[in-house]
C-alpha cells in the first residue's frame, strides 16, 4: 500500500513536465525543479536535525559552499558535472568536518548559535571573494555539462536530473536511517549520555552524520546554482538556514519525506500568496502580497499547534499513534 503510493507519486512526478508542456505552462516545470532542489537541501538538514537531533542553524553554509564550488568550476572552464558536482559535495563535507568537530562538542542553544556563527563567517568569506563577484555574485556563462546527450539548459531535462538525484538521495537516507548507523544516530538523539554509557563514542557518529548532511546539502547547492545560472552570497545568508529549518519543521522532523513535504509546502505557499490574489484575504489584510512571510508564519503556527509531526505526520496518523 505504502509502496504503491510511493510509485504512484513518482509516476506523477515523471509525467509532470509532459503535462505542463501539453497545457503550455512550462513555467511550472522550472518552479517544480526549484522545489525538488530545496527538497534535497531540506532532506539533508533533516538527517541531522530530525534523525540526529542536532539543531544546526548553519545549513546554508554547506548549500552555499556547494553552489560556489560548482559555479567556480564552471567559471574556471571545467563545466563537467562529473567533476564539479562531486567537488561541490567534497568541499562542504570538509567544511562540515571542521565546523562539526568544534560545534558538536556543545549542546542545545550553544550548538544553534555556534553553527550560526560559523555559517555567517563563510557568508562573509564569499562576500569578500572579489575574484568571484564578491557581494555582486557570479553569473554563470553556461550550465554544467553532463554528457550522454543531456542538456541541462533544457528545463525538462534539468527537472528529470534533479528528480533522479532526489529519489536516489531519499533512497540512500531511507537505507541509512534503518541501518546500524542510523539507529545509533537516532538513539543519540534520544539519550546521548546513555549511548556513551553503553559504549558508543557519540561525537564520532554525530560528526559523520554532520559531514554526510553537509555533502548532500552541497549537492543541492550545486543544483541551485545551475538552475539560477547565478550564485551570490545571499544563498549563504542565515535567513536561508532558517528557511531550510522551517521546511523541515513544516514537513516533518525526522520523517523520510519531511524535507520534500516542507519544500513543497513552504515554496508552494510563498508562490500562491505572492502571485494569486485572494479577494477574501485582501479584504482582511490588503498588503498581504507584500508580506507573504506573514502567511508562512501563520502556517508555522498552525503546524506547531495542530500538527507537531509536520505534514508527513498527517499521513502517518493511525499508524503509530
Amino acid at each position: 500500500m505504502r509502496r504503491a503510493l510511493t510509485v504512484g507519486v513518482l509516476l506523477l512526478a515523471i509525467a509532470f513536465p509532459l503535462a505542463m508542456q501539453a497545457i503550455d505552462q512550462t513555467y511550472y516545470v522550472t518552479m517544480a525543479s526549484r522545489i525538488l532542489v530545496y527538497a534535497l537541501a531540506a532532506t539533508s538538514l533533516n538527517l541531522i536535525l530530525g534523525y540526529g537531533g542536532m539543531i544546526s542553524f548553519g545549513h546554508a553554509a554547506f548549500v552555499g559552499a556547494g553552489a560556489y564550488t560548482a559555479s567556480i568550476m564552471i567559471a574556471e572552464g571545467m563545466p563537467s558535472a562529473w567533476i564539479g558536482w562531486p567537488l561541490a559535495m567534497a568541499v562542504p563535507a570538509l567544511l562540515a568536518l571542521a565546523i562539526g568537530a568544534i560545534s558538536l562538542r556543545t549542546r542545545g542553544v550553544y550548538f544553534i548559535m555556534i553553527t550560526l556563527a560559523f555559517a555567517q563567517m563563510i557568508y562573509y568569506l564569499t562576500v569578500s571573494m572579489k575574484a568571484y563577484g564578491g557581494d555582486e555574485g557570479l553569473t554563470l556563462t553556461q550550465r554544467a555539462t553532463l554528457g550522454f546527450g543531456l542538456d541541462l539548459k533544457d528545463d525538462a531535462t534539468f527537472y528529470y536530473v534533479v528528480l533522479a538525484i532526489l529519489v536516489a538521495a531519499l533512497f540512500l537516507v531511507s537505507r541509512l536511517v534503518n541501518a546500524r548507523f542510523g539507529r545509533v544516530v537516532q538513539a543519540i538523539r534520544e539519550n546521548e549520555s546513555r549511548m556513551e554509557a553503553i559504549g558508543y563514542p557519540t561525537l564520532r557518529y554525530k560528526l559523520i552524520a554532520f559531514v554526510l548532511a553537509g555533502a548532500l546539502g552541497g549537492l543541492a547547492g550545486a543544483l541551485l546554482a545551475n538552475q539560477n545560472s547565478y550564485v551570490n552570497p545571499g544563498i549563504l545568508h542565515w535567513t536561508e538556514s532558517g528557511k531550510l529549518m522551517i521546511m523541515v519543521i513544516l514537513g516533518g522532523v525526522g520523517h523520510l519525506y519531511g524535507g520534500v513535504f516542507g519544500a513543497i509546502g513552504l515554496l508552494g505557499l510563498e508562490e500562491v500568496l505572492a502571485n494569486h490574489k485572494f479577494a477574501w484575504l485582501a479584504a482582511l489584510y490588503p498588503d498581504y502580497q507584500q508580506h507573504s512571510l506573514l502567511g508562512v508564519g501563520v502556517a508555522m503556527l498552525a503546524v506547531v499547534l495542530y500538527a507537531p509531526q509536520g505534514i508527513a505526520g498527517l499521513f502517518r496518523r493511525g499508524k503509530d499513534g
Binding site: R175, R180, R183, E190, S193, E196, I198, G199, Y200, T202
Partner: protein, 251 residues
C-alpha cells in the same frame, strides 16, 4: 586476595570549595559483590561517575584489570568491560525493549558504521537482546516501548542495558530505587544470579539487600571511605553505626 579487578587509588574530586571525593581508595576483587553505602550526599554517585568515566577526577588513579584507565573516555571503559547503571532511569524511552538492549549489544559486536543493511534484519542482535531481556525478567515485554513500562520494569531494563554490554564489572547505582518490596526481592535475586559471571560495585540504600548480597561493604561518609569490611565487620563497627547505620542494622 587475588589481583583486584578494580583498584581506586587516592581519588579526589572538588566542586569549588566542596570536597565530593576525598582520597577514596577502594578495591573490587574478581567475582565480588562490593557494596558502597553511605548517607545521602556522601558522594556515592559522584564516585560512580568518576569510575565510569563521565566525570574526570582531580587527583588519583583508577586501575581496571591492571590497566590505568584514569584518562580513558567512558565509551572506552565500557569496551574494556566496565559499565554502569543509573540511579535515575536512563533508557531510550521511544525505543522498544528489544531495540534498547540490541543497541547495547550492537556496541560490542561489529562496526556500527554500517549504512546500508537494515539493522532489523540482524537476528543475532535481536536474539541476544531477547536473552538479556529474559535474564532481567522482561522476556515478555520485548515489543513494548521502554517509556511505557512500569517503573520497576524500567529499573530492570536499566540494569539490563548495563548487563548487555558484557561487562566484567557492573557499577549499579541504586538499582532498587523506588521499587516496592516484592520488586526489590526480584532485583536481589537477579543480582544474586549475576554473581557467577560478573563483579558488581553496588550502591544501595536498601540495607536488607546490601547485607544479603555483599561480600564486602565500604562505607562512604563526606566523600571519604570510613570503613571497609565483611557485612559482619561493618555491622559491628561502632563508627559506622554512629555515622550511618543507626537503628537500621538488621539484627
Amino acid at each position: 586476595m587475588a589481583e583486584a579487578l578494580l583498584r581506586v587509588d587516592g581519588l579526589e574530586k572538588h566542586f569549588g570549595g566542596i570536597v565530593a571525593t576525598d582520597g577514596v581508595t577502594l578495591e573490587v576483587a574478581p567475582g565480588e559483590i562490593h557494596a558502597l553505602i553511605g548517607p545521602n550526599g556522601a558522594g556515592k554517585t559522584t564516585l560512580i561517575a568518576q569510575l565510569s568515566g563521565s566525570l574526570a577526577p582531580d587527583a588519583g588513579r583508577i586501575l581496571f584489570g591492571g590497566a590505568d584507565i584514569t584518562a580513558m573516555p567512558q565509551h572506552g571503559r565500557v569496551r574494556a568491560g566496565l559499565a554502569r547503571s543509573y540511579q535515575i532511569t536512563s533508557i531510550f524511552r521511544r525505543f522498544s525493549v528489544r531495540d534498547n538492549l540490541s543497541l547495547a549489544v550492537q556496541a560490542r559486536s561489529g562496526s556500527s558504521l554500517a549504512f546500508w543493511r537494515p539493522v532489523a534484519a540482524e537476528t543475532a542482535l535481536a536474539e541476544e537482546a531477547g536473552r538479556i531481556a529474559a535474564q532481567v525478567g522482561l522476556g515478555d515485554r520485548l515489543d513494548a516501548a521502554a517509556g511505557s513500562l512500569a517503573h520497576a520494569e524500567q529499573r530492570c531494563l536499566e540494569v539490563g542495558l548495563a548487563l548487555a554490554t558484557n561487562a566484567r564489572l557492573l557499577l549499579l547505582d541504586e538499582p532498587m530505587a523506588g521499587m516496592g518490596p516484592d520488586e526489590s526481592q526480584r532485583m536481589i535475586g537477579l543480582i544474586e544470579r549475576l554473581r557467577a559471571t560478573v563483579s558488581v560495585l553496588l550502591v544501595e540504600h536498601d540495607m536488607d539487600a546490601v547485607f544479603r548480597l555483599a561480600d564486602r561493604i565500604s562505607v562512604l561518609v563526606n566523600g571519604a571511605i570510613v570503613a571497609t569490611g565483611t557485612p559482619a565487620e561493618i555491622r559491628a563497627d561502632a563508627d559506622v553505626r554512629r555515622a550511618y547505620l543507626g537503628d537500621e542494622v538488621p539484627t
